[in-house]
Symmetry: C2
Subunit: 211 residues, 2 copies
């Protein structure tokens, strides 16, 4: 299997997968790239090409078996196993993340929560006890996790990320507004709603000024 599959392609697969899950739930058995495309707002050709990196899952004249394709994507994306996640930073955002049912439902087990505040440590969130972030490092030695979600104040983001990465965490989802650096072999994604808003205002301003 070729190693050089573009990242843009990988980033689209979860989108396809999510739609297929919905169609599966609706009881649809077959779907065409045309239909997937209109639903997602992308061209059918792009979907076919993206999928063709991984194999030939469709049947000419018919389309794709919804169940079969969903299954293949599960395999490809590694969603056929469960992944161990830890959340560091249990402020309002961290709590929202820890309580969000969408993670567990998709195979992501939030196995531990950490915070630095003594008033939070020891409290329970959705049946999980908040632990002291000072024991993060040693805890990870005993019970490693695959993914770290970081929702601490921006100033300590890099520090927390370093701790996670040094303890072997391979993927970081950074909810803080600060960009952090990691080794190139560690997966890293940033979620910063302000950046989204700021690129939207660019267009809003132009719409407002005229046209």
């Amino acid at each position: 299997m070729p190693i050089d599959i573009p990242d843009v392609v990988i980033d689209r697969l979860p989108l396809y997968y999510r739609l297929l899950e919905r169609l599966e739930a609706e009881g649809r058995s077959v779907v065409s790239s045309q239909e997937l495309g209109t639903e997602l707002g992308v061209t059918p050709a792009q979907i076919r090409k993206d999928l063709s990196y991984f194999g030939r899952f469709g049947k000419q004249g018919r389309g794709y078996s919804v169940h079969r394709l969903a299954d293949e994507l599960r395999q490809i994306l590694g969603l056929d196993t469960r992944w161990r996640v830890t959340v560091v930073g249990i402020g309002r955002l961290g709590r929202a993340i820890a309580s969000y049912p969408g993670f567990e439902g998709q195979g992501f087990d939030i196995i531990a929560l950490y915070d630095a505040s003594p008033s939070l440590v020891g409290t329970e969130i959705e049946g999980r006890t908040v632990r002291d972030v000072s024991s993060l490092r040693e805890d990870l030695e005993r019970e490693p996790v695959d993914i770290g979600i970081v929702a601490v104040p921006g100033e300590v983001a890099q520090e927390v990320v370093d701790t996670l990465v040094n303890a072997g965490v391979q993927a970081i989802l950074n909810y803080t507004p600060n960009r952090v650096q990691v080794r190139t072999d560690v997966e890293l994604k940033h979620i910063n709603p302000v950046l989204f808003l700021q690129s939207m205002t660019y267009h809003l301003k132009r719409q407002r000024d005229e046209r």
Copy 2:
């Protein structure tokens, strides 16, 4: 001023702007594209080219005036005015959004909160009273907003978005896992952390299997 500036460029500007703000706060007066690039993990040439779409802000041999460039970007991105925002859906996520200081600090005024649950309507969050979503439509007529942040359950996302758009809201930030459709002249961004995790597991699986 040319209309056809690529969206990829626009999406990078807030990134540059955020770094410049930090440098401004640190008291730096001049910075080179080289330095901006290493800090952000992009090539200096890309930064220079991106900026050149909008004008010539640098000085050869010196670099960019931090204050001047930050100012220009504020202008370009429309961050020299305040923007009116409403949040619909005041569950755990909506509350985290409503309380996040990063929005107000960047010129985004959250002027109203809405929810459908009778137990929430009337309660106060950060000094704002949660209103009933059934009055959203008429409220928007009286006090319009520029941006709608949607944090309702996925099933009603499209419905809420339609209400917002029909009432003249020009930009939507959708926190629900459901993709929604809007007119092409409305700005729309999706924030779905699960999609991020799912593309990360693709790489995690490959790292694990070998290499």
